[in-house]
């Protein structure tokens, strides 16, 4: 809100430099966001007098302090800073007969939504331009001067915070004002020329026949003040903030009036504001003010009396402020406070609707005392801090994956729903009802599509060697439609995994299924997960014959594979990307908390190689299992050295060169022993997997 500082001086003496006052106001909670200087030229070009300069503060009013949305409100906040009280504008009118009550009747149908309605009538007003001083003040406050009557309603709103509206009295059917909810099918054309459909629970001001204003938001064009207007009705009413906010939102309207009502207007000020407006209209446009306002105020608001315990205030603030000083602070904010038996009795003025209990008064004491003077301590008791189990595990995973060469990334959870379709999970995705745009309409169901997008984007940026991983939430609906979310871990890679590898064979460097599997195996190895198996699978994201689930014990914890060509195409990833995704919690559950020490072998090992030729449809896993099972417990490790297919063996067979480590934990093995075991292994391989040997 714009606060013209010259105008402010009507209500309070600014006895210090403006910079200093702005700073103090900011430190009291009413932030002066910027200071604007309007020149004579600025005033002139906006239609003002052009005879003065003015410094204007732009203040940020927090949503709880509707009372700050006026000159008087800001002046009040300056009270404790400059050490004086404000001067309210004097309201002194000469009224005429007949009384207003004979010229207009006012009825409130719904006192819940309209606590008070004050109507003042002025007849035979001359509608014309406002004088320069009035125009200047409105311009300084950021409003456009219109005519003397409308200007006065705006002026009083800015001065006292009470939104006003002026009707052309002669255009009100039946000389009647009814505050009621809109009826089915009613419409109104507001003064901005827009015809608006009203809904049943919107509060309107109606005359005998039709709505003439949307209560607290905007008046209607039909009863608007025009050059022909002679008699006017000034509305100074108080509307329910929730109702105004709902209606304004539904109609997509924000006005100076609705903005104030949403933030609460003091019902007590309605009558003063009405008479203040009448006085100013009389001064600017003559006419006759009808005696007495029509004031419908079914349940007048009373000031709230609260008690405040000084000990409690000090206990909250961590201070030792004297009760008398506390009372002084509150009094400086017009909260009349007395001390009885060391307890403060505080009478909260009706304009401070934000103060409802003791703690609110404690904040006021803190504000006036100054937050900057509060001491700095630490809580007396000490507690043991700790990371969440997930957080600690996450860090472990990050370390391992980074050491595997993967760059950590962080992608959006709000994504295009098409990614879920790609993953074959459109049915379980969580959809946002009010997305920013169509391509941000869903929560991600999986991390891999996001990572593929990262690969594609980086390829477009010219980075072709890529390995990335992310640990983050994925979101889903379960069988009952319940929304769930869980942590997931995924990695994706494409291109060379070496930063620099001149003259090395490209084929060995590029990411492929086995390099990707190697990362997963390194991860499991790093965690101490021993019994992982990889089983052929199908997945909409993956190459139909290069995809595997990762099984630990009897739990499927994730999957890995080469990305299906159509998926890579859709997401614009070049090359042959590979990826894996693992359920974070399942992985955590199969990871041993503590790794147990196994004795380091003391006896020497004997190493043997064996080239096993088997049919193409025999899995390596089967061969390996056969070797281990037939090894009499003496084969410590089997590893694959080479996979060969080619001229030297039949076309439908492959040769697997195995490296075997023989070792006993109890003795030194002899060559003869190992040869005997190896013979058994060969026999078992012939028997179980139809092997021949090279």
């Amino acid at each position: 809100m714009r606060v013209p500082t010259e105008w402010l001086k009507d209500y309070i003496d600014l006895n210090a430099p403006l910079d200093e006052l702005a700073h103090k106001l900011t430190m009291a909670g009413l932030e002066v966001e910027e200071t604007i200087e309007l020149s004579k030229k600025d005033f002139a070009s906006a239609g003002g007098s052009g005879t003065r300069n003015e410094v204007i503060w732009n203040v940020k009013v927090t949503p709880n302090r509707g009372d700050w949305l006026s000159m008087v409100g800001v002046a009040r906040e300056l009270g404790p800073i400059v050490g004086s009280r404000i001067r309210m504008p004097s309201v002194d009118v000469v009224s005429t007969e007949p009384p207003a009550s004979e010229l207009i009747s006012i009825r409130i149908d719904d006192p819940q939504l309209c606590r008070r309605y004050v109507g003042v009538v002025i007849r035979n007003v001359k509608i014309k331009n406002s004088p320069g001083w009035m125009k200047d003040r409105l311009i300084a406050a950021g409003m456009r001067p219109i005519n003397n009557v409308v200007d006065v309603t705006n002026y009083v709103m800015l001065e006292l915070g009470q939104p006003l509206h002026a009707f052309d009295l002669r255009l009100l059917h039946g000389s009647q004002i009814i505050v009621r909810q809109a009826k089915e099918g009613e419409t109104i054309t507001t003064i901005d020329g827009v015809e608006r459909k009203l809904e049943r629970d919107m509060l309107v001001i109606a005359d005998a026949d039709r709505p003439v204003a949307i209560a607290g938001i905007m008046g209607g064009a039909d009863t608007e003040i025009s050059e022909q207007t002679q008699d006017i009705l000034i509305e100074s009413a108080n509307f329910n903030s929730t109702s105004i906010r709902r209606t304004a939102k539904r109609l997509n309207m924000v006005t100076e009036s609705s903005y104030r009502f949403e933030r609460q207007v003091d019902p007590s000020v309605a009558a003063i504001a009405a008479m203040r407006a009448a006085q100013l209209i009389y001064e600017l446009g003559g006419g006759e003010i009808a005696r007495g306002a029509v004031d419908v105020y079914p349940v007048p608001v009373e000031p709230l009396t609260l008690t405040l315990r000084p000990d409690r205030a000090n206990a909250i603030l961590g201070t030792s402020i004297e009760p008398a000083d506390m009372a002084g602070y509150l009094n400086s904010l017009e909260i009349n406070t007395s001390i009885e038996n060391n307890i403060l009795r505080c009478c909260v003025p009706t304009f401070r609707s934000d103060i409802t209990r003791e703690i609110d008064l404690i904040e006021e004491i803190g504000r006036v005392y100054g937050y900057d003077k509060l001491p700095m301590t630490l809580p007396r008791s000490s507690m043991q801090g700790k990371d969440s189990p997930e957080g600690a595990f996450r860090d472990k995973l990050r370390r391992i994956l980074m050491s595997c060469g993967a760059q950590e990334v962080l992608t959006h959870s709000l994504v295009d729903g098409k990614l879920a379709e790609l993953a074959g999970k459109a049915d379980i995705r969580v959809v946002v009802r009010n997305p920013l745009s169509e391509d941000l309409d869903s929560m991600r169901v999986m991390l891999i599509p996001n990572l593929l997008q990262v690969l594609a984007r980086n390829q477009a940026f010219g980075t072709s060697s890529l390995s990335v991983f992310e640990i983050g939430k994925i979101y889903y609906r379960n069988g009952d439609g319940e929304i769930g979310e869980k942590l997931s871990l995924a990695g994706a890679m494409v291109g060379s995994q070496w930063r620099r590898a001149w003259s090395l064979p490209q084929k060995a460097l590029d990411a492929n299924f086995f390099l990707c599997k190697g990362v997963v195996e390194s991860l499991l190895d790093g965690l101490g997960v021993a019994d992982a198996r990889f089983i052929r699978t199908e997945n909409p994201l993956l190459h139909p014959t290069r995809a595997a689930t990762i099984v630990v014990g009897d739990r499927e914890i994730g999957f890995l594979g080469e990305i299906a060509p159509n998926v890579a195409d859709t997401l614009d990833v070049r090359g042959r990307p590979c990826a894996f995704e693992i359920d974070f919690e399942l992985l955590m559950s199969v990871t041993p908390d503590v790794l147990k020490y196994r004795e380091v072998p003391r006896y020497p090992a004997i190493y043997r190689h064996l080239a096993v030729v088997v049919s193409d449809n025999i899995d390596y896993h089967e061969v390996e299992q056969t070797v281990i099972a037939s090894g009499r417990g003496l084969i410590e490790n089997v590893d694959l050295l080479d996979l060969y297919k080619g001229e030297q063996i039949p076309p439908d067979r492959k040769s697997l060169t195995l490296s075997m480590v023989f070792r006993s934990l109890e003795r030194t093995l002899t060559d003869e022993e190992v040869n005997a075991v190896l013979a058994e292994v060969r026999e078992a391989l012939i028997r179980n997997v139809g092997a021949s040997f090279r």
Binding site: I316, Y371, K386, R398, S403
Partner: protein, 341 residues
Amino acid sequence: MGELEILNEIRSMALRRILEATSSAELDAVEIEYLGRKGELTQRLRQVGSLPPEMRKEFGQTVNRIKEELVKAITGRRETLAAAEVSMRLKKEAVDVTLPGRFYQIGRPHILVETLNRIKQIFIGLGYEIVEMPEVESYKYNFAALNYPEEHPALDEQMSFYITDERLLRTHTTAYQHRVMEKRKPPMRVCTLGKCYRVDAVDATHGHTFHQVDCFTVDRGITMADLKGTLQQFATEMFGKQVEVRFRPDFFPFVEPGAEVAVTCTICEGKGCGVCKGSGWLELAGAGMIHPNVLETAGIDSEEYTGFAFGFGVERMPMLIHGINDLRLFMENDLRFLRQL
């Protein structure tokens, strides 16, 4: 020529040949020629029986002396030659040491995750327990339990993405407060970190998704001075000793008294610059004493217990520390950016 003279002749010749040998192979040949089974000296020794008895002793001794001498000479020469050969081989193996090294691409942490971890460690050090909380929240936890009245203008700052009438993406990590309070009993000192979402157009300083940290404590005798001290401690750990913390009144429905927390601008050290808009201060966090309504809603006696809470955005910190000027960089994952930090 006497036999001994012949021996001397052989000795001289052999020594010369040893010295003249230019490779191990040549030297081996010389060795065999003189000392081998059919070597000249070996054969001479076999002749000893055909000599007159009075000569045998001297002859034998001389041959053996010469043999020892030759063995020693050969060994010496062999060492010399071997050293020369190694040095020759190594010379041939010369590489251009200025050729680039071959190395595996290393993985780096994401700067935001790293910042979150740093923040986490500071709060763990201050006695906070980190808890994991959902991002898809209910209106109840995100707003109602935090003392937001229905249809309050304070909601304007927290425009939400809704999934259903009741379910929304959390607009602040503060949403976890009531979840924790309804499950635990004081004393509590907890912290959560993570993604938050607000309906906000995306530009260099705004995004629909951002990361927040939220901490709160509830105990007997917690004061606003404790809050101030805690945040000063945090700021010092995070930004360094020279940083001061400034409190000024602000409004958040879930705290009372409420405060906006600022720290000395880390760019200009408080002198005033473009980043802090000349004020010398940077807004850091929203904070305050937990509103008694919030405690009471969770069934905590607000007379016996008090608490403080604060929350802040994370992106701003690495932006300040590393001079990053566009928020979008964090989630765009351009590796040319990520690999720098």
